[in-house]
């Protein structure tokens, strides 16, 4: 049964060393910590007591015991649940984009502030024949 599922989901043969004993438990916790529990609020599979998470953790344990690597196991779960299941998304843009937007925003703010603080060197006022407006302009220019 497991073989039947794995031949499709994990196209390549195991690329790591089969684990057992305390090393298996340690790696199971580490890999399960990288997976999101699908029925919890922001909890990892390693930390969640839900039955779905326990099933997922057991599957991680079995795959590590068979010699599958962390990458292969994460790819297997991603294939079923999508990138949602990964607590550390593969797409680096997700981490970089907010910083880029913040820097771009800061540049716009600084540039605009500099422009606004510089006194106007050109007189772009419309010519007027209105005596009152002319008088106001004289007073402002003094």
């Amino acid at each position: 049964m497991i073989l039947l599922l794995l031949t499709v989901a994990l196209n390549a043969p195991p690329q790591g060393t089969p684990l057992s004993g305390p090393a298996l438990e340690q790696r199971t916790y580490e890999v399960a910590s990288l997976l999101r529990c699908p029925v919890c609020q922001g909890m990892s599979v390693a930390d969640s007591p839900s039955t779905v998470a326990l099933d997922m953790k057991q599957q991680v344990r079995e795959l590590l015991a068979r010699g599958y690597t962390q990458e292969q196991i994460l790819a297997y779960f991603e294939q079923s649940y999508g990138q949602f299941v990964l607590l550390k998304p593969r797409n680096r843009l997700i981490w970089i984009l907010p910083i880029l937007i913040l820097v771009a925003g800061a540049i716009v703010v600084v540039t605009t502030a500099k422009k606004l603080s510089q006194p106007s060197t050109t007189d772009d006022r419309q010519p007027t024949t209105d005596a009152y407006i002319s008088r106001v302009r004289e007073l402002v220019d003094k």
């Binding site: 049964m1 497991i2 039947l4 599922l5 499709v8 989901a9 699908p38 029925v39 039955t51 779905v52 099933d55 997922m56 057991q58 599957q59 779960f77 991603e78 294939q79 079923s80 649940y81 999508g82 422009k115």
Partner: protein, 171 residues
């Protein structure tokens, strides 16, 4: 400068509103599964009651509906009569129930009390549910006659939802 700021501001605001409206129009129960459009993960599970092994290959040739459920799931009680009735009315469609995190005794009691018209399979360690990306129950997958998943629905099934998704599987 002011005109440019206005145009850019309006463009950004309109884009945000567009994203908001697209999101509002989306059915939250219609989960976007990465498996939609791909061949369904294979399984071979024992049927509750008969003990007969049923695998995915045996479902090929007809559209299929795979419903993941459990006796401890309250919405599953609500949708069960809908599935039983539709399975009786649609003999050209393969209905299969897959129960996980449950016991055979409880499933048998549930089916005796509420009736059944299609095989119910027991996914003892939840491996099939994980392969299908099941988060919570009930979740239902619609397969076309080639065994490709065409739709996934999360939540209690109604006849309208079942038939609209089945139409995709019939194409």
């Amino acid at each position: 400068m002011n005109r440019t700021v206005l145009v850019v501001g309006v463009a950004i605001t309109l884009a945000l509103f567009a994203i908001l409206f697209v999101g509002l129009g989306r059915d939250p129960a219609a989960i976007r599964s990465p498996l939609v459009g791909k061949p369904a993960p294979p399984f071979a599970l024992k049927a509750v009651g008969t003990g007969q092994t049923i695998d995915l290959a045996s479902l090929r040739g007809k559209p299929a509906i795979i419903n993941f459920w459990a006796t401890w799931c309250v919405p599953c009680y609500q949708e069960h009569p809908v599935l039983v009735e539709n399975a009786r009315m649609l003999p050209g469609v393969q209905f299969v129930g897959v129960v996980f995190n449950d016991t055979e005794d409880k499933i048998n009691a549930f089916l005796r009390e509420r009736g059944s018209s299609y095989p119910t399979l027991l996914d003892e360690q939840g491996k099939t549910a994980i392969a299908y990306g099941v988060g919570g129950v009930p979740e239902t997958y619609f397969l076309n006659r080639d065994g490709v998943i065409v739709a996934k629905f999360a939540g209690p099934m109604s006849t309208e939802i079942l038939q609209s998704n089945l139409a995709k599987a019939m194409q």
